[in-house]
């Protein structure tokens, strides 16, 4: 057995000797590690988790034609949308706006793709049915109130096509939409149907895009689009992205605060335990000094025990922390967590650092023990 092996043997025997005390210190460190890893993982994964969650607020990017072109070419828009990472893209929906008359009253009608609108405007509250057939339309709740139209009613829509020719078409109200916004005053129809009525194909005023991601990620996507598809101008819906960012930073601040508090509590618990251990081992420390141990040997032994304890607690904590974070994510977001594996060694290192610093004061007391007490039989 060489010197290092003997050192390890001495530490291990000493820890094993004080099983119950060391167990309580180990529990404290493991709990600290669990909370730390759990909180860090959740905080790391929260933008992704909440990013999807936040998408219920609707689109956070709008594509329009660049320059002073009025209509955006849908093909250009598709090229722009193709630049968005597929796993981040929630939906992209075109909107084209025209004026129509119903019973001599003027309304704005929006042509869109209903399947897409369900994704980019999930907050829409539709009474009745979403349009199924070409002749089906949705009307805003304000219009429904004003005209007394209800799902199932037929209406005649008249207007003037791009060529200047008048047209009239009978359509069916399949449902009403309420959002609390401007949509309540709009009529919605399918974009191809609108193109058939008004003429002009492959264009839209705007394409609304919903992307899961932070504001910075969205900015990066916007500039990517600007560089690669100059015909398209992408802009962020700042109102949405900034309130998301504010919610995220508050959540993360909370997570950091809780982690810090738990680490401080861990430290206090370990320091108290180690202090008791030093007091119990005064005689042993005195003896070691009497037979020639230097202060730094005594310190190395206690700090070594701290490192072993911190390492073991950290590994336990990392394991439990993963389970904890996973359980929290499943119950809160209904989806498993993605762990950044670098957090595991980080948790172990932080646990060791916390334990070792908790040992510093007890170690100071240990090296102050006088060797003379051994002969006095104290």
């Amino acid at each position: 057995m060489n010197k290092r092996a003997f050192f390890i043997k001495m530490l291990a025997s000493s820890l094993a000797r004080r099983k119950s005390r060391m167990f309580s210190a180990l529990c404290a460190i493991a709990i600290g590690g669990t909370v730390l890893l759990g909180m860090m993982s959740i905080s790391y994964d929260i933008p992704r988790q909440m990013g999807r969650e936040f998408r219920s607020y609707g689109a956070n990017m709008v594509l329009v034609a660049s320059g002073d072109k009025a209509l955006l070419d849908i093909e250009d828009a598709d090229r722009a949308v193709a630049l968005i990472p597929p796993d981040a893209l929630v939906g992209a929906t075109p909107y084209r706006y025209e004026m129509v008359r119903v019973n001599m009253q003027g309304y704005t009608v929006a042509g869109t793709v209903f399947e897409g609108a369900k994704k980019t405007r999930p907050y829409w509250n539709v009474t009745g049915e979403w349009p199924q057939k070409d002749d089906d339309i949705l009307i805003g709740s304000d219009i429904a109130e004003f005209t007394g139209l209800a799902p199932g009613d037929a209406i005649a829509i008249t207007g003037r096509g791009t060529g200047g020719a008048r047209f009239s078409r009978d359509m069916t109200v399949s449902g009403t939409v309420r959002s609390g916004g401007v949509e309540d005053e709009f009529i919605f129809m399918s974009l191809p149907v609108m193109e058939g009525m008004f003429g002009g194909t492959g264009g839209a005023e705007a394409v609304e895009v919903s992307i899961a991601g932070t504001e910075a990620e969205l900015d990066a996507i916007a500039s990517l689009i600007r560089q690669n598809v100059p015909e398209v101008s992408a802009s962020l819906v700042r109102r949405v992205t900034q309130s998301e960012a504010a919610v995220l930073s508050k959540l993360q601040a909370l997570v950091i605060l809780v982690s810090l508090i738990v680490l401080v509590l861990t430290m206090i618990c370990v320091a108290t335990t180690m202090m008791t251990v030093v007091m119990e081992r005064r005689r042993e420390i005195g003896l070691k000094k009497a037979i020639g141990a230097e202060n730094r040997s005594i310190a190395a032994e206690f700090l070594g025990e701290g490192v072993l304890l911190g390492g073991a607690g950290g590994i336990l904590g990392a394991a439990f922390g993963f389970v904890f974070a996973h359980a929290v994510c499943v119950s809160v977001f209904g989806r498993g967590i993605i762990i950044d594996w670098r957090l595991l060694p980080l948790t172990v290192l932080v646990s060791i650092a916390v334990t070792v610093s908790a040992c510093l004061w007890p170690v100071r007391r240990a090296v102050e023990v006088e060797p003379a007490l051994v002969l006095r039989g104290e």
Binding site: N2, F6, A290, I291, N295, S297
Partner: protein, 240 residues
């Protein structure tokens, strides 16, 4: 040359004068016994000789070095290199085996050497108990482990504070035999004892009384035992 010179040593704890103006020289290879009633300052003196305490006044020369001039870490080095300690309460490390308890002294001294530690246990007759914990050993066996630990680094000076105080006669004899062997090999031994039989073995016995040297008795072959007990009777009579 003397290995140890105490010059005018005093030790004062608050109101208590544990030692007053003690002078003592111990020769190289000498076996010295220190006797005296409880509280007379024997342990205090051992702590000073053993570099574990500094006297309030006076000077200590150990192997030619003036101790009062040394830093705590230099004193630690002297304890480690020159002194072997044997205690009445054995003071073994409870979580280490007999062998490891011996190796601890090697560990702090320089290198651990399992073979040599085993040999040291063999010398005190405990080779077959190497893997036992102190709690699995009898008092006498524990004391022999303590002695093996004290001897492992070949100290020039053995300090023993009542080494047989907790032992029965058989074990006392074993311990005395080991000490005698060391003495024959030239090691200087200072032993504190209440037991005249232990003191008989010594070349010289110093009697402490209220922190002073009350008497010194030299061993004269054949009459040492009688001499020592007679001297002690005198001391106790004087006190009464």
């Amino acid at each position: 040359m003397n290995i140890l010179e105490l010059k005018d040593i005093s030790m004062i704890y608050g109101q208590v004068r544990a030692l007053s103006n003690v002078c003592l020289s111990v020769g190289q290879g000498e076996w010295l016994a220190i006797m005296g009633p409880s509280g007379s300052g024997k342990t205090t003196m051992m702590n000073i000789i053993g570099c574990m305490d500094k006297p309030s006044s006076g000077s200590v020369l150990l192997d030619g070095e003036e101790l009062s001039k040394l830093t705590p870490s230099e004193l630690t080095a002297i304890r480690r290199d020159k002194i072997g300690l044997i205690f009445q309460q054995f003071h073994l490390i409870t979580y280490l085996t007999a062998l490891e308890n011996v190796m601890v002294a090697q560990y702090y001294h320089s290198m651990t050497d399992e073979k040599e530690a085993l040999l040291a246990l063999e010398r005190v007759g405990l080779a077959d108990r190497a893997k036992h914990l102190p709690s699995q050993l009898s008092g006498g066996e524990q004391q022999r482990v303590c002695i093996a630990r004290a001897l492992i680094n070949y100290p020039r000076l053995i300090l023993a504070d009542e080494p047989t105080g907790n032992l029965d006669e058989t074990n006392e004899r074993i311990v005395l035999n080991i000490l005698r062997g060391l003495h024959d090999a030239g090691t200087t031994i200072i032993v504190v004892t209440h037991d005249p039989e232990v003191a008989f073995e010594a070349d010289r016995t110093v009697y402490l009384e209220h922190g002073r040297v009350a008497d010194v008795v030299k061993k004269i072959e054949g009459t040492a035992a009688a001499c020592a007990s007679e001297a002690q009777d005198l001391v106790y009579a004087a006190k009464a």
